[in-house]
Assembly symmetry: C3
Homo-oligomer: 118 residues x 3
Amino acid sequence: MSHTIQRHHTSARMSKIARFGDLIFLCGQTSSGTPFADVASQTREVLGRIDALLAEVGSQRSRILSATIHLKSMADFAAMNASWESWLAGAAAPARTTVQAKLASDSLLVEITIIAAA
Amino acid sequence: MSHTIQRHHTSARMSKIARFGDLIFLCGQTSSGTPFADVASQTREVLGRIDALLAEVGSQRSRILSATIHLKSMADFAAMNASWESWLAGAAAPARTTVQAKLASDSLLVEITIIAAA
Amino acid sequence: MSHTIQRHHTSARMSKIARFGDLIFLCGQTSSGTPFADVASQTREVLGRIDALLAEVGSQRSRILSATIHLKSMADFAAMNASWESWLAGAAAPARTTVQAKLASDSLLVEITIIAAA
């Protein structure tokens, strides 16, 4: 008998959270895309959203297993890493992959996809 | 003692399905790459393949946990979403990430990678 | 009561391995980026690193569930596949997705992200 899937913030297109047993999948998190926001502030906004979503299902940043980071421009790698490492400080870091990719809107500079443990 | 991994449609390069316990990993699904097929029809073909693969292991579209969508051109975002949402109608939506990336062949416009629950 | 997460090679930025229950997440593996190394040799180096990391947690290439391959240029697809298939020989192949993406450094031609079973 298989576990139930728990979903949160579900639209016709996607759920922001899908939980199955002890595994939590978040949809790719971006900033709100405010024009002129740089990658440091967009990364901080993304990480704040991840904190909030994980908290909803009783998890937290120290329980992240895997992070896939898509950057609009690899020129932003160092600035994104500075925001990322500042955020992680005191929490054990997950496995991570970072590549360059164009995101859904031109104003978006960074998108982070998380798999976490409950 | 660890679970057995069940694989289906295994070639020297990849398996279309790898199942481990209650988790199902599908290889990235593309259309057959018929020239001149637009993204709406390619997306429908991809989603039909996902239905068929999930059915082989007793799962279904309402059991998808995570979808990673690579689009050759983000200009196809709205058309892909229309096919996607039409397909999901009546099934709870998974976590999802969509980014732009060049795919293995120039004729391919969309590739979808699924993690699902049994 | 949730499982403990085991991490290995953890820096301020990431862990090379995050294990949760029977699931193992590796950070994206690249070669050391030696200038002028072609994709065949970079792929072999990447796969050797994956072997070593999996061995640390009692897993192996035949226990890989999912591989996400980012290639700097899809022109390298055939050469990467030749190294990949040569490496897999005798081990059952995982689910796999391959797309083109610029990687963190210009000298890197291929990055492979693995989810494996313990």
